[in-house]
């Protein structure tokens, strides 16, 4: 049995100190009729490390991995380049085998790294204060709505949700908010542009309206060009505007949520140095204005001094949290996604200001090249006309045509995109593609829709 260091003599000596005859006796507080026999569990015998490795590698090998340059799937999980240095840094066990930094004297590494992360999140969004991470973008959005709810003293209950919000975010919201009697109303899409209809948002702004959510780029990849107007309309009616960004590399070029007038921003940071990894771990983050800091859920790191006057970092504002405030806490979150946040911090440090801005533009440029090429293909249309970032919806003549194209592209080694609706497909293009890989994709697609 691996990882157990005791020798038979150790165990004897320890039992002797304890004053018991056997290890079994230590379990006497479990009623005997429920005690399991030594061999009772229906599980296999333990494997050696060598056997375990072979088995798990076999499991991994039965997944199909698509080459990065042939992967056109996004929809909330994006295929971006991950610098080698990230795994080496985050693989340092001083980071990954530490607990939540409760003892600041021996946790300055984690604490300072999170403080830097918070700073990066504040700068990406233009807002004042960020928490240290939430489980993912979807749960962070639900928590952000609860933050708004508390900020408005639990008086207003209507949550305006756009129809082009990521469907999983929408589902998580529905589940999370239900116990509190919050009503979700959906704002319509402008079917032409793919943006949310400002008129529809307006029509939902009633005295009971608590907040309005805007995702940009939205689920269809479209930039909400009227986001600024929506934020202004909302604020004029005492409604809190909440900005959601799932493809956070877009913030390298597009206006920050603060510049657009939003008071709360929710980011999913998977794109920043984290693999798609079958859906997780990713991380969400809530960034907001100073006035809401005491309602913010999750860990927050603050700067302070030690008794010698040295700069130091500590977990702060803990009176918001579950272990102090119990059932009156701002959230029940305890463990978060700290190591994912660290990965994103390292990522942003490595690519840097200039690299991040260029990354964003490269995504934009390649995606637009792909769209222009696809538009020329007979039998394919681009569904929405709005300005987009690195993702867009392609429509085929029928479901059959799409299916045929999808299956055939997969045979050619492409992960073609995500099937969407009756006859469409959501296509993401990142810096992992090149002009050449896009041309090959478009050529194949042309053959299959002909």
């Amino acid at each position: 049995m691996p990882y157990i260091p005791h020798t038979t003599d150790d165990i004897k000596a320890m039992l002797n100190t304890i004053g018991k005859k056997s290890v079994d006796e230590l379990f006497n507080s479990i009623p005997s009729k429920f005690r399991l026999k030594a061999d009772a569990l229906k599980m296999d015998k333990g494997l050696s490390e060598s056997e375990a490795k072979e088995k798990v590698e076999g499991v991994a090998n039965s997944n199909r991995v698509f080459a990065s340059s042939k992967n056109f799937m996004g929809a909330g999980a994006y295929n971006h380049f991950i610098p080698s240095a990230i795994n080496h840094i985050v693989g340092r066990s001083e980071f990954y085998t530490a607990y939540t930094p409760y003892q600041p004297e021996i946790s300055q590494g984690t604490l300072q790294a999170i403080f830097e992360f918070q700073t990066m999140m504040c700068r990406l969004t233009g807002l004042d204060v960020s928490n240290a991470s939430m489980y993912d973008g979807a749960t962070a959005l639900a928590e952000a709505v609860m933050l708004a709810y508390r900020a408005k003293r639990e008086k207003k209950k209507t949550v305006i949700v756009p129809k082009n919000l990521h469907p999983e975010y929408d589902a998580v919201l529905k589940l999370s908010l239900a116990p509190f009697g919050l009503n979700i109303v959906h704002a319509d899409l402008d079917e032409k542009t793919g943006e949310i209809s400002t008129a529809s948002v307006k029509s939902h702004i009633t005295p009971d309206a608590l907040c309005v959510i805007v995702q940009s780029p939205n689920y269809y990849g479209v930039i909400e060009s009227a986001a600024k107007d929506i934020a202004a309309i909302a604020k004029a009616a005492d409604v809190i505007p909440i900005f959601v960004c799932v493809e956070t590399t877009s913030l390298g070029m597009f206006k920050s949520p603060a510049e657009l007038g939003f008071d709360i921003a929710v980011l999913e940071i998977q794109s920043l140095g984290n693999p798609v990894a079958f859906g997780g771990p990713y991380a969400g983050v809530i960034v907001t204005k100073n006035e809401y800091v005491r309602s913010l859920p999750g860990r927050i790191i603050g700067e302070t001094k030690d008794i010698d006057g040295n700069r130091a970092y500590v977990l702060t504002l803990a009176t918001r949290e579950q272990h102090i405030r119990r059932e009156k806490a701002t959230s029940n979150i305890c463990s978060n996604q700290a190591l994912v946040a660290l990965r994103s911090s390292v990522y942003l440090s490595l690519v840097g200001e200039d690299g991040y801005r260029e990354l964003s533009k490269t995504n934009y440029a390649l995606a637009h090249y792909a769209k222009e090429q696809l538009e020329k293909v007979n039998g394919i249309t681009i569904k929405y006309s709005g300005v987009f970032y690195n993702e867009f919806v392609v429509s085929f003549k029928s479901k059959d045509v799409r299916e045929k194209a999808y299956t055939s592209l997969k045979k050619d080694g492409f992960l073609p995109g995500l099937r969407h609706g009756e006859n469409s497909m959501l296509v993401a293009v990142t810096e992992m593609q090149t002009k050449q890989s896009i041309d090959t994709y478009v050529d194949s697609l042309r053959r299959y829709v002909a």
């Binding site: 049995m1 691996p2 157990i4 260091p5 150790d10 320890m14 100190t17 333990g46 590698e57 991994a60 997944n63 698509f66 340092r92 001083e94 980071f95 085998t97 530490a98 939540t100 600041p104 021996i106 946790s107 300055q108 984690t110 790294a113 403080f115 990066m120 999140m121 700068r123 004042d128 998580v172 070029m253 597009f254 206006k255 920050s256 798609v276 990894a277 859906g279 997780g280 030690d306 008794i307 500590v314 702060t316 504002l317 803990a318 009176t319 579950q322 029940n332 305890c334 463990s335 490595l350 840097g352 200039d354 690299g355 991040y356 490269t362 440029a365 637009h368 300005v387 997969k410 810096e431």
Partner: protein
Amino acid sequence: MKKKEPLIFEISKQGRKSDYINHSSVDCKMPSGDLLRERIGLPNVSELQAVRHYTNLSNLNFGVDTGFYPLGSCTMKYNPKINEDMANLVGFNNVHPYQDEEDVQGSLKLMYELGEMLKEISGMAGITLIPAAGAHGENTGIRLINAYHRAHGGFRKKIIIPDTAHGTNPASSAFAGNEVVAVESKGGILRKADIEHLVDSDTAALMVTNPNTLGLFESELADIAELLHSRGALLYCDGANTNAWMGQVKLGDMGVDVIQYNLHKTFATPHGGGGPGSGPVVVSQKLVPYLPVPIVVKEGSTYKLKYDLKDTIGRIKGFYGNFLVYVKAYTYLLMLGKEGVKKVSDMAVLNANYIKARLKDTYNIPFEGDNMHEVVLSDKIQNEFGIKTMDIAKRLLDYDMHPPTIYFPLVVHGAIMIEPTETEPKEELDMFCDVMIKVADEAKNHPELLHDAPHNTPVRRCDEVGAAKTPVVCLKD
């Protein structure tokens, strides 16, 4: 080694460029300027600067690989290196969550088999792996209980929680829309008689932690389950302390309806400085219909994600949870096997009892009883010399040890909660006990050593009150 490291922003220089990302191979007109932003304020450093920066930061940290980490309630056991290697496999990392099922059979098989093992260990009927952490699992479990009641006579508001439960339990219940009824457990163990008068037609469930936060096994659990069930209520058991009982007993046999596991505790996946964790929830038969979607099922030899569950509570998180954490727990469980699962709890309980035996004459033990995987001491004896738990904890830092959990559970004044785990050798336990005894001696004879501790750490006691009073939570640009 450096004791101070500047902020990454303080070593940044404008104009320094990185070269990680492909330059665009196409030209493109950018969108209109009113959509675009100016400077962000991210740092520009070279790779060496970044690597040194984070390496220096890591040296200011303390992990399980650094030294003894007896943080009670947290199960800081060794995190085997093979788990990390397996979680880094390309076959897991480069797989998109929306790929067709036929292309992700490996991931689904892993989730299915991990789920089966976790069900078997607790003797429960159904599982969702999705919750991202223990508290997320707790909240999910309470929501399942609420769904059950809605389908069986109507919503019940009250969740009874003893004072020996985990700290997240009350908040996890509140965020499911329930009301918490606190109950005092006299003598450390919850007795059926303690709750009999509280369980009524508005009681949804009792939420206990087992073993509880005093490290004691709730020996009346089966009777309590019977009482609850006879009044239509359910039994939730916080499974964060599974390291104490796995392989010894199946809590499902005792009538428990919901348990959340903490893979980042019992199943050796690392804590990552705060996360990601993973909090799978196992349930009894009556709660299976309400599990969140999707669940993984096996049909013939094919694995599928099932969404069409008529009575599901819905979706609790994006995608399918912290998948790479599953890979680590799965690898670990394959290596443990059935004999290893029991051996873990055998040795975890032995180690805790050994520490208790060695320290019981030096420190106050507030609750007598048969300890399982952890032991709670208090500072009562040391109070006489003006020494508090905080001082003892800080002094341990000078001896290169991570302090135990302190001031928790709340039922013990000045609690010192020690959980050694099964992976620590006797030599390490002895060293810890020797240090604890020495510190007790210092408390009596050189109390100033404790008041001023720690002395040698990268920073010393921090002004936490000041940090909260005027929060500085990011570096101004």
